[in-house]
Symmetry: D2
Subunit: 372 residues, 4 copies
């Protein structure tokens, strides 16, 4: 088990899906940062796309901050945040306790620990990411206030439907105002920048639901206003830590930076970013690198994309075995499941990315230990 | 700076390209493992593709083990390995000390540290990976001897030329004997399984060299014989740690597992791997997951691919600026540079993957602390 | 800030004295261990000596386990435990917000963070140790069940009154049954083995209270049934980690092992422990080393002692300055304070020692990752 | 095994006493610090008391810096330092390979690893501390140059002979100039401040040698010029990390801070340090706390003492057993051994203390990541 993430800005998450509560501890947040439960709640609410697309489970996920805050400011001590598990119905999981669901962690978890909380996926549930998002909200605030960094993630493709709008152009530079763009992303249930394609994405998801199936997609994340100097070679390179962060999110199957997998077919002369001097600082003319050279931020926007697989829980009958009898069997997963996890993963990607940047801000000394 | 990697099987690397030497310390290797300098040397030699494709620098990289070994067996104490830097010529780098090379770490490194060893790329040189490969050789031996795990990486695509041969089929299962396949990989200078396409890949590299340009590619890595239970959710998931490990390798721009980025266009019903009982153990009928469910190995082959960018050092004139005068300038990189780094990255990918597996083998308790 | 302790069995504590709650997360506890809230509550209750000696604050400290447990068994996932802060009265602290109390962390904390929760000492309160004791209860159970190790701490000296009874003789070997002895320790409010001297210790504390003063003392801790092989040289030696663990407890000013500071006046011939073969295993004839050679347990009882300073909060007038005006002032600390913290520190020492041993049990592989 | 120490200024040591070499890697040293091999050599030489008291082994321990330095300045990359093992004679150890020496790590090491390098104590040899001292020299320079902190350790008692001179008075404040005092410490072979008692200490050691026995002692270490704010509660308190650091040194059996074990017999009114405002800063009137409140430096001198046991290797016949035959036997340890390790431990204590302070300087942000 390893439920702690980060070197200097560290989070520890805990909780099973159908246990009493889930939560997170942040250790290393500078003292003197203004924080409110309301702000964190707003980010948590982003995990709930709402509308007919989402899970029908009505998550009244109210976050409470139990420590580390005094008169609205962080103390420099651990911030403990908790969300109770309400509205829990373990009934639909009961028939599945001995029959591992294809695509799920049921079997490998059982093989490792010899025991598991089969209710709602237990610790392997996506509900675990609540703690990541709550902590990410604080990381984002810290980045914004101290470094002027802003982070935005959005759906780039869902069920085969690609967005024609991105926050960056082909050269890897911003084409819009990030706070304005954020408004667009959260104005539609699929969390995309392309409002026209949003309808098609919704349709793809609805179709999957009708077929008792599910669809996957791509998420892009852009970080603007990044200072130079974030990243700790040779192992804790900024891209290496970002890769770990996003691949640790349930259902993520790949990550790429800047030109990404496309580099395989490129020539050096096409991909090398020429250095220029502009607006009083050294920049690059193109940003194929995605803002990171040699594992260290070069001051340009950081651009990354992640691949999210279709939800494993699908309604149609699936074959599996009974782990006790070793006999073949067939299961039908009932209960409340999104046919597409991509929209819900968007704020989680944003949070994990923010946690890595806050951590590196502190490690590099660019974020001070105290703000008061 | 962060030059230590791993939790229980930990390596620390050190050294600049044109300094006195480079090296690595392994801390946490179980006692009683048979090790010889010869075995490690063999893996180091794999970094030298030889032939006309490779850098012309003749690396007489002789490894010496300075500690941790007694009568041919590991003591359980730190293994210190060193390779002297011989045959060093810093001359070609002298004109480039104030003019950051496009695509290189020169600028971001200087911005972070305010000083850098510009000779041969300093610490940002790919020569840094020597320590990773030396340590990886020991990790591989440990995995093989204790768990029966074997790891093989190979070039999947170079300069737009794709291999038609893979170690796994479309379902993600092995189609050949891994030790036999290893012989093929190292029989050709581009480190591929497809001997016919190897010629075309060579040609693509030669053409790039003629054009004073460079090409990128893809590497696939397959791990066979993996036991269930490796991986520590929710943050040190096996795929998350593997992602960090390979993205920390110079020039890697992306990583994907199993069906990878392809999942974006798939449906859950296509991608879910049905569980079956076969040959006395629980397996999956397909292996789209690439051997990992919920961050824990499920006993099937682990399959991952990484994207490697074209070598940044190219011979043609490139525009950049002088970091002192901030004036535009043009550089031509001379010296010894491979027009394609993919073949040399193959054993590095293999090594990083092996280090992660050995670490998780120890963390999970499947590899004991002593073998004697 | 660093609120995480341990390498493989890791705890993270959180909470301020007068905040909403205090708590702890355990990460790395093997799966399959039987745990109940009742058992943990019993250890927490030991922090309340009861009777007239103790603080008058009636701590109804009810622990709740929020995660990591399923049908009474640990899941291998994080165990989150919480104790609400009830019966809080911050009134007496109000006058002290700008006047650091001598001997307390008020000033250094303010100097470091620029902000502090002055209510009840905030995070620097001894109430922080609740999390350590809750986690220690689980560590103790693990040690007992898997390794047969038992740990007992007791007051050796209070207010200048020394116990004539110890759990070990001058050679460092056990002279009594540890579970029986445990009954004696918790039968008297000063937590000592010498029931006659217990009365005198009580008297010393009462006198200090009357004089609005406080007294210090010594605690001894003995660990029986230790296997050989715990400890990770050269830095995470068992004694080094134990030293850190107990010195991190509030009010501890020193620690010594086996013959301790007495070695300064000894000769090698007196202090070297001769090896013998007895009862089918290699042992030492004397145990001046206190069970640890070269940082690794040698199978003999581990013996350590810690020095605990007199409670800093005393009722008599004390001079200090106002940190805002820099003017001299005088304070009188009211509120509920023990005139001797030694008895309350006894279970905390026991807990920290148990946490270190459980951690090293896992690191060495002697405690398996799963018990089911 | 755990051969890495520190969080942000990290060292990794390696090497066996009679292997090829010993060495250390420093990771996290800020860039731009002036360093020379000569300076480090000077500190290494302090480990050789010289004169008739010391081991007769002539250690020509020449340190070489292999990486991390460029034009005399640190690069921010790992500093690798190495000292070859010359003049090695494993002959005297041959007869002892199966007969663990009383007081030594031979048995517990063998029990843990199942194999050990019996030549010269292998990894458990005090020669391991060479790496600590080499790294400590750089930590000391960093502390001095950036924070104006100076550290001095000296023998306080040897073989029952106490020094009448200390660097601090009874109130815990400096009574002399630290650089002048350093000259005195290294002007006499026993590393004490009391030149009169130095002769008696020498005599005590000589007598022990004549009797083929050994003596122990006490070392005091004082740190002057400490800023407020070093230390990371609640676990990485400054005193907790210092305790671990010095207890990890071979032969150390105890550590105490400020008033130390003496607090057991004190009252709060005697031991509480009153706060005053003096010379433009908040100070304490007395320094019984030894410069640390609540685990954080309060700006006063840090004072600690460690107990060092008599050398385990003594010439007189000692009983032990043969670990293979389990039969009783008698050994006489020949070879070159100091009858008192205290003088040689003095610079090691100074080094470990400096490493902890440099680490906390970086963690707190008081030492910047780059000096250029």
């Amino acid at each position: 088990m390893s439920n702690t993430f980060g070197h200097s800005f560290r989070i520890t998450t805990w909780g099973e899906s159908h246990g009493r509560a889930v939560g997170v501890i942040i250790d290393g947040c500078p003292s003197g940062l203004d924080i409110s439960e309301r702000e964190i709640q707003e980010d948590l609410n982003k995990r709930r796309p709402g509308g007919r697309l989402a899970t029908e489970r009505r998550e009244k996920d109210r976050v409470r901050i139990l420590s580390g805050l005094f008169n609205g400011k962080t103390l420099g001590t651990p911030l403990s945040m908790i969300v109770d598990n309400l509205d829990v119905d373990s009934g639909p999981y009961e028939p599945l306790r001995d029959t591992p669901r294809p695509g799920h962690a049921d079997f490998s978890w059982e093989a490792k620990y010899g025991i598991r909380d089969w209710r709602g996926g237990g610790r392997a549930s996506a509900r675990e990411t609540l703690g990541r998002v709550a902590a990410g909200a604080i990381a984002k605030k810290l980045l914004s206030r101290v470094l002027g960094v802003s982070v935005l993630a959005y759906s780039l493709e869902i069920g085969g439907v690609s967005s024609d709008v991105r926050l960056v152009n082909k050269e890897g530079f911003l084409v819009g105002d990030i706070s304005e763009m954020k408004g667009i992303v959260y104005s539609n249930p699929v969390r995309t920048l392309d409002l026209k394609k949003a309808k098609e994405m919704e349709k793809a998801i609805s179709e999957a639901r009708l077929n008792r199936d599910s669809v996957g997609g791509l998420i892009e994340c852009v970080i603007a206003g990044v200072p130079t100097g974030l990243g700790e070679p040779v192992f804790d390179k900024l891209n290496a830590d970002l890769a770990k962060a996003v691949v640790s999110i349930p259902a993520v199957k790949g990550v790429e930076f800047g030109a990404g997998f496309g580099v395989a077919k490129k020539r050096g002369s096409e991909i090398n970013d020429e250095f220029i001097y502009k607006d009083g600082k050294i920049q690059t003319k193109t940003n194929h690198a995605g803002g990171i050279n040699g594992g260290i931020s070069n001051g340009m926007p950081i651009v990354l994309r992640v691949a999210v697989k279709p939800t494993s829980s699908i309604g149609r009958p699936q074959k599996t075995i009974n782990i006790k009898t070793k006999k073949k069997t067939e299961i039908e997963i009932t209960g409340r499941h999104d046919p597409c996890i991509v929209p819900r993963a968007v704020p989680v990607v944003e949070s994990m990315v923010s946690l890595v940047l806050a951590d590196h801000g502190l490690r590099s000394g660019l974020i001070p230990r105290r703000l008061v």
